[in-house]
């Protein structure tokens, strides 16, 4: 493999500190609230996060991993998902809003807005999961999500521990104070937490970590016929962009120029009215 981009000492030490921060939060929250699940899209961020979970618990993944399937994810992504689940040996729960899909309550079948479609196919299964009896001893306490504050505006307003009501609604203004690294001692009745261990990572750092740890990478991120995906979503709403990067080193070289544009540029729903803030207040990840 090409070794064009040398990891500087500064980068290595940032990765070490960020990884330690993520592992500390994951352990802290899971030890206090065992009714935890983690969302995994099979994209680069949540795959890196899943690796940190393995590191936190000595190779084991102690809680269920949830993938939300919209029925229009690229087949390569589903293949990668199932292969990794087998290889790493964890319990994978696949959620689908079958009702919306069969009644064609979607953007691609019925011409609903993209946001309405995201809400039906992605937010709703998550909202239902939190209310479900996946844990016999009570409702879900924590949902771990691999979002980053640099992805877009409303995510820059997130906390590591983000309080959600029973319908997974988010109020960014009414969040309790957070003591760095200290797990909140209780969850208010009818509420649950989302944990965002990757909040202070950046797109470049995730790629640097992926390379440092030798993590498996979904082939959709690599150039095919001169095009590659920067962010993986549903087929009707994600566009690849022109790129020649065929491995992680080349992606890192490319990132030096790319960092100046938004990673989610290829994602349709972000540019619609109100955009992600409205969607995320309603329970989107």
């Amino acid at each position: 493999m090409l070794r064009n981009v040398q990891l500087s000492f500064a980068t290595m030490s940032i990765l070490t500190r960020l990884e330690a921060q993520a592992i500390h939060w994951i352990r802290e929250v899971y030890s206090q609230y065992p009714k935890t699940v983690m969302l995994w899209s099979a994209g680069k961020d949540s795959t890196a996060l899943l690796w940190m979970v393995k590191k936190a618990f000595f190779g084991e993944i102690p809680f269920p991993i949830v993938h939300i399937d919209t029925s229009v994810k690229p087949p390569e992504l589903l293949l990668f998902r199932d292969q990794l689940a087998k290889e790493w040996g964890f319990k994978l729960i696949v959620l689908r809003n079958e009702a919306a899909i069969s009644q064609k309550q979607t953007f691609f079948d019925r011409g609903l807005t993209r946001m309405q479609c995201c809400k039906n196919l992605k937010s709703q299964p998550l909202i239902d999961l939190v209310k479900s009896d996946i844990f016999p001893s009570g409702p879900v306490q924590v949902v771990i999500v691999g979002l980053r504050s640099d992805e877009e505006g409303s995510r820059s307003k997130e906390r590591f521990v983000s309080l959600r009501d029973k319908n997974s609604q988010w109020d960014p203004v009414l969040q309790p104070p957070e003591m760095d690294g200290v797990c909140p001692p209780a969850i208010p009745d009818g509420y649950h937490f989302r944990l965002h261990p990757l909040l202070e990572w950046t797109e470049t750092l995730i790629w640097e970590y992926t390379r440092q740890e030798g993590l498996p990478v979904n082939p959709l991120y690599f150039s095919k016929d001169g095009m590659r995906y920067r962010s993986l979503g549903c087929l009707p709403c994600s566009a690849p962009f022109p790129s020649r990067a065929t491995n992680v080193d080349e992606i890192l070289l490319e990132m030096r120029h790319l960092a100046e544009t938004s990673e989610r540029k290829g994602r349709g729903q972000d540019s619609e009215d109100g955009g992600l803030e409205t969607l995320r207040r309603g329970g989107y990840m």
Binding site: S8, A10, T11, S13, I14, T16, R17, L18, E19, A20, I23, H24, R27, E28, Y30, S31, Q32, K55, A56, F57, F58, E60, P62, R148, S149, D150, G153, S154, S156, K157, E158, R159, P172, V173, L174, Q175, P176, P177, E178, M179, D180, G181, V182, P184, P185, A186, I187, P188, D189, L199, E200, W201, T202, L205, A259, E260, T261, S262, G274, E277
Partner: protein
């Protein structure tokens, strides 16, 4: 420097978000439209833009040369104090923004006090809106000595006192060329030169906070270098034992470090503290504490002065001492060291059973 976490605080409208906007536009070149108001780069919520004020803590990441910055833009309004508490509890340094015209105001004091209470990180004072006072040097030096006096009173360290404007970015991204200001570094220069205290802790006494136990116990190594066969002591129970396993085998030298550990005789539990034998560490379960109440979601915030006992971490028995100082007794769940300030472990939530009501710092 490698990774610096910066909290930005100060009174309402003193120019915090505009300053953060300048930094972001400079460091994340090309990401924001050139006609976008600087404060709006950081104030991203619809409500914030409508009411022209920060309402929720904003978090940004940026590269500064080879290093990384996390910038936490806190709201100035008292009703959103939760955002500032969150920011300052995590920060390596606090940038306190003071409007050159208005000087020190209510929230400026409160933010300094909270910094002294919850973190005690160095403070960089930025006198903002210098354009509005026509770069009056006398005013600047007046505010400078005022700042030094407050910091001294509160036992805080000031790293720099600089001034500038987010309109022309003079003094902020580059030095001012005006008489009496030319010698002052810009805010950005101060940040680049800043060295957070990240000294190696290998030679310090061993301290491991145990978070939980699976096949072996897992936790965070705060200082020292644990070895297999090393004899150790576990608090708060106080028993002695021997380390038989440490994971990973080779530990990083950047603290705090996630770690796995197994002892010869005992099974470690969440809340245990593993310490070296016969070190000068004293670990106990009775402490002084200092704190503020935080009546969320929107109620007023007041310094903690009630005489009734308030459970901390769900553990009762708190007897107040003088103003804002209490003597509290923690039960076996938690134990805090008496003689060393720790990264995050001497801080706790004030809890009323289900809601976070405030923040406490446990004092040696």
């Amino acid at each position: 420097m490698s990774w610096l976490k910066i909290a930005v605080g100060g009174h309402v409208d003193h120019g915090k978000s505009s300053l953060v906007g300048c930094l972001k536009r400079h460091l994340q070149r090309g990401l924001y439209a050139s006609d976008l108001d600087k404060a709006l780069i950081s104030d991203t919520l619809k409500e914030e833009r409508q009411f022209e004020k920060t309402m929720a803590l904003g978090r940004s990441t940026a590269r500064l040369g080879p290093d990384s910055l996390t910038i936490l833009d806190a709201p100035g309004h008292r009703e959103y104090l939760s955002g500032f508490i969150t920011a300052v509890s995590a920060a390596d340094i606090l940038i306190l923004v003071v409007d050159a015209r208005e000087g020190f105001k209510e929230q400026t004091y409160l933010h300094l006090r909270l910094c002294a209470l919850l973190n005690q990180c160095p403070v960089l004072i930025f006198i903002s809106k210098m354009d509005a006072i026509n770069w009056n040097a006398r005013r600047f030096y007046e505010l400078k000595s005022e700042a030094e006096e407050y910091a001294l009173q509160m036992g805080l360290t000031i790293s720099d006192i600089v001034s500038g404007t987010s309109l022309s970015e003079e003094g902020l991204l580059h030095r001012s060329r005006r008489d009496s200001f030319g010698q002052l570094p810009s805010l950005l220069e101060c940040l680049m030169a800043y060295q957070p205290n990240q000294e190696p802790r290998t030679d310090w006494p061993l301290r491991i906070l145990i978070q939980g136990n699976m096949t072996k116990a897992y936790g965070t190594l705060l200082s020292g270098k644990p070895r297999v066969h090393q004899k150790i002591q576990v608090f708060p129970k106080g028993y002695e034992d021997e380390i038989v396993e440490i994971t990973p085998e080779s530990l990083s030298e950047i603290w705090p470090i996630p770690i796995g550990i197994r002892l010869a005789k005992h099974s470690l539990k969440r809340g245990d503290r593993v310490c070296s034998l016969a070190s000068d560490i004293l670990v106990g379960d009775s402490f002084h504490a200092s704190g503020i109440t935080f009546l969320e979601p929107k109620g007023p915030t007041q310094m903690l002065q009630q005489t009734k006992s308030i459970p901390i971490l769900g553990l009762p028995d708190m007897v107040p001492l003088i103003h804002r100082q209490f003597r509290i007794r923690l039960q076996s769940q938690a134990c805090v060291e008496k003689n060393l300030r720790l990264d995050f472990l001497n801080r706790a939530y004030l809890f009323d059973g289900s809601r976070v009501m405030g923040a406490l710092r446990l004092l040696p």
